[in-house]
Amino acid sequence: MTASVDLAHKDKDQVPRLAAVPRLVGVGIVTLGLLFGAFYLYMLAQPLFGAILLALAVGVAIVFGTNRFYGARFIFPGVAAVLIFIAFPVIYTIYLGFTNYSSFNLLTYERAVSVLTARGTVDPETEQPFAVARDDDGYRIWMPEAGLLSEPVTLDAPAEAELTPGDSPIDLLTPRDAVALRSGLQALVLTTPDGRELRNSGLRTFATVTPDFIRIDEDSLLRTADDVTLTADHGRGFFVTPEGATVPPGWRVNIGFGNFERVFNSRGIRGPMVSIFIWTLIFATASVVLTFAVGLTLAVILQWEHLRFKSLYRILLILPYAVPAFISILVFRGLFNQNFGEINLILNALFGISPTWFTDGTLARVMLLIVNTWLGYPYMMLLAMGFLQSVPADHKKAAALEGASSARVFFTITLPQIIPPFLPLLIAAFAFNFNNLVLVLLLTQGLPDIPGTVIPAGQTDILASFTYRMAFNDSSQQFGLAGAITLLIFVVVAAISYLNFVAMRRAANRRAGRV
């Protein structure tokens, strides 16, 4: 495909360009590799990923195989990476928000059916040991208690074999070699001379196994214990009894707005979600304000021309930013420990108090803000130092000559001049803290929990950590619900993102105007 397109192009050019041959060969190999991968994924029932590889193959062939899109060659890798690694996961998250994907609905329909039909009840009376004997072109199963020997079997596919009375074979495999054949043995059904069916029931035994479920037709199963017919409910992703009870495991289906209805209608979810949303906004706002205030104060002091040891102060002050956050957060987790953390030891020695930082909701929130201010002020300080330098000194001098106090000069001259260029960065900091998963997960994990909720929800949880815990820390692994809530976060982030975009444009225009 690639080659023919390019040959046609070459003929038109009338100039045979040998230099292009290695490139075309390379593009051909890459394209074929990607196409093979796409085909392979499609065959393994992953058509979505196959389609992505197919799109990538077509893109590579067109952009690198032809000469028309020379410029696009430079942009293609980056754009492809953004589409595959950011856009696709984001869209896929939204898609999952419309499914019932969770630990109960993890599998595809066919897998769920095969899990159910593979379940069986072993009749302990009939359980007996077996041995495997090597035969000319396969194996025979030897049942020493009954003195029965099977027909030769290959043990590489599901099979049935008759047992007949026989003598013990000589060439018996060791138990360990027999265990290695387990998958073949599990797919084997042996029929005794009196018509009973024996199946592999353990590492060393065969027995009569009654299947718990028998597939009657495409969408129904018979439950053998009570002869009830279960029908597949493809709207809910479960097999259901005539009374409507579900039988796990279910499978993944699209449930439309089901998750969103749960979020908005179930009181056990909506209540905590509203309070978590409010706390997320407070947390992000307070974090930005506190880090900005502390950082700016320090920057102003460090800019003072009479101050000595500036560079030493500066390097010490940015240490909290330089140490990897995951380490400092865990350090604080230890320092704030209620029983033997150093902070409570000191508070106890000085004031005789030992606050319960991790079990009291308000204190836990205060702790989160203290730690986040510690982590975040150096970034603001560094930025503020840069912006402060751009404030013309003669404005300040003029104000001072007019008799303004230095505080007045700062609030009327300096601050109004640095806020506009700072704004996009403050908005970005807000967005960052809105999704500050690392801090919450490593410091409090969202705890203490809000009482009386259906799903785990904590008083220090922000929306992102709330969905994280729902999907990965809770045993029911509600991926679908987490995806639905993530969509709500996306909406907020998109709004912030747009706001930032506008603020950045304004800042750029202002700069352009000034220059």
């Binding site: 696709f88 984001v90 865990l330 230890g334 999704n435 969905t467 993530t486 747009y498 975009f501």
Partner: protein, 296 residues
Amino acid sequence: MIVERPADLRRKKILAHGFLIIFLVLILFPFLVVVSISFREGNFATGSIWPSNPTLEHWYLALGLNYTRANGTVVTPPYPVLLWMWNSIKIGVIAGVGVLALSTISAYAFSRIRIRGKAVLLDSLFLIQMFPTTLALVAIYAIFDALGAVTPVMGLDSHVALIAIYLSAVTLHIWTIKGYFDSIDTALDKAAAIDGATPWQTFRYIFLPLAVPIMSVVFVLAFIGFVNDYPIASVLIRSEANMTLAVGSRLYLNEFRYLWGNFAAAAILSGLPITVVFLIAQRYLVSGLSDGAVKG
């Protein structure tokens, strides 16, 4: 300059230094305590900043060595810190190189090559970079869970999968490098074009050598970002042997097995190199950050 009275000035100076010193004591207090704890005996021990019975036990364990106590009992390291460190460095370097290659070439294209719809592409790139990959964790888990059924190399608990998803960091770094390329005089590429250089040759022989400083900064930034990542790695990596530092360190402060002393030594050991690298790079980092955000 505005003249101030010497007495006032001295008072102000004392105030400023006093404030800064008190602030620094508060801010640096956690570091001092951690250093002290790493030399204290036991994992719950409390005591003065200067340990009364200093011991190297936690440091031996952090370095993966057995430690024999005075009474003859041998303590074995609780977790493979050095292995985690190696995992972090390996993943950080490979993903860093990948991100660097992708973002440098994209930045060149966005800065210099004339492509239809470039303005739209740039705007959408700016909007999309605000979506952190950590928000798509559920999808990332589902995607790699499904791919793992095809080949374990791209499945859960695989470093390849982690590196692949880390490539999403390109959006952040394209801006930094593009800002740098934008500041290079266009006369340079015009001269190259007159000499018959293709855009690729201009990139390879003119822009790439010029961009070495900014590229090293971006590499360090990307590397630190990957080493510091907790959410993605915690979702994808399962086995202790495959963990990165960020995921593994979490294990030390488990409610049921609280290894405060061992954690302190491991934290210093693993945090120090990254801190030093960061302090060296921070000068460039800040200009890069604010440039990237404002230049657009």
